[in-house]
Amino acid sequence: MKRHLISTADLSRDDAILILDTAEEMARVADRPIKKLPTLRGRTVVNLFFEDSTRTRISFEAAAKRLSADVINFSAKGSSVSKGESLKDTALTLQAMGADAVVVRHHASGAPHRLATSGWLNGSVINAGDGTHEHPTQALLDAFTMRRHLAGAADGGPVHHRGPGDGTGRDLDGRRITIVGDVLHSRVARSNVQLLHTLGAQVTLVAPPTLLPIGVGSWPCEVSYDLDAVIPKSDAVMMLRVQRERMNAAFFPTEREYSRRYGLDGLRMARMPEHAIVMHPGPMNRGMEISADVADSHRSTIVEQVANGVSVRMAVMYLLLGGAVLPDTDAPIRNASEESK
């Protein structure tokens, strides 16, 4: 593994499976009376959020605290950033405070990459969403959720969690994942396409042509404009939020028309295969891309995704921070069985 997590494109198949397997162990901590591990005692994690977020920030905070790290929350509002401080000066301040990891969300694509490669910080940089670029931990928690539901059984049917078929050690080979909606503005879609491709899944993007990014033809996935044609062949359908705050032009005529053609309602859900699941990274626009009855149905994994987010982020922090502070290497993870006693 690298020292930073900036993009899911940096993860090899083995890296990704290691993170998911580690997350599976972390998930068990949530069942214990004491939901805390001493592993990152004395390490400092800074949540550096230049953009509003509730679930991602809280999820990272919960993950770091369960691993006993000290957490400092930094949001751009009410900080010196609103007085005009640059990213560099903010980074140097965090470095001076001894941050071992910086979890960064920024409205500019590439800001986490800049932090990781500029030499301003010694710690690990974890991308928590940058502009319309990537959101790797969201993609990992989505893959984790899919693997729990889809990877275990040979026929792709649902599998009881934590049984022999909870998916540990497995990838998503051959699973058909459909991602629907505002792909153009979605860092979640970008990260997911890369990661799911690495894990062997077949991804289909469904969106109106105006909401697909230029160059989507070079992504490792299929593209369709017809949701009804794709739905019966999907093991998982992931609905994306229509990001009105990023829309400064008319991408579709009316919200009603968008909802009718690209929204997921009860009728469309009924045409999904028996075992298929409905996902949404949140926050949802109920009635827009997903109807309320679908969001609350037993096929929806939306609440589960939030819980899985903590486990996956614990896994990422453990793997990035749990060992010695080392320069960028591709050193293999040591195996538990090769230890001295």
Partner: protein, 193 residues
Amino acid sequence: MDTSNTAGSAPRPVLEAPDIQRVLTRIAHEIVERARGADDVVLLGIPTRGVHLARRLSGKLRDITGRKQPVGSLDITMYRDDLRMGPARALGPTDIPADGIDGRLVVLVDDVLFSGRTIRAALDALNDIGRPRAVQLAVLVDRGHRELPIRADYVGKNLPTSLRETVKVQLTEEDGRDAVLLGDKATTPAGEQ
């Protein structure tokens, strides 16, 4: 632990498969004797080989007492005191039996007892999971060189070693055969504590 002995003599077996069988049978009898019937025993193996040994002990306890004792695994990676001395380690499985460990007699099972640091970490991990009535330790081999005030309650074989030697336990489930091998450490001690 580096077991590839390029330099020096080939590792020689100290215990062979039948010896390991006998030793485990004896430990199972000792557990029943000391726990007066082993009614409330929970066996927790420390991954990787401790888990296999715990399962075997559980089978032998069932043969003796006629009851099935809960068996599980306890990964101690995240409680180690040497995590910062190398890259992050992959985690092993932790499976605590459904009835938990509160008020039970937990027998920790591991293959080799050496510095005692693994057991220290296991005691910390247990503390976060519940409150056993008592904790005991069963190991296949005790090779000495303790760095902490820890001792085993059930020992398969006491094996006096020098720090230049390596002890390697092989089990059928993991390595295809049962043996305890004593070898010489390669010239450079790689990460050995």
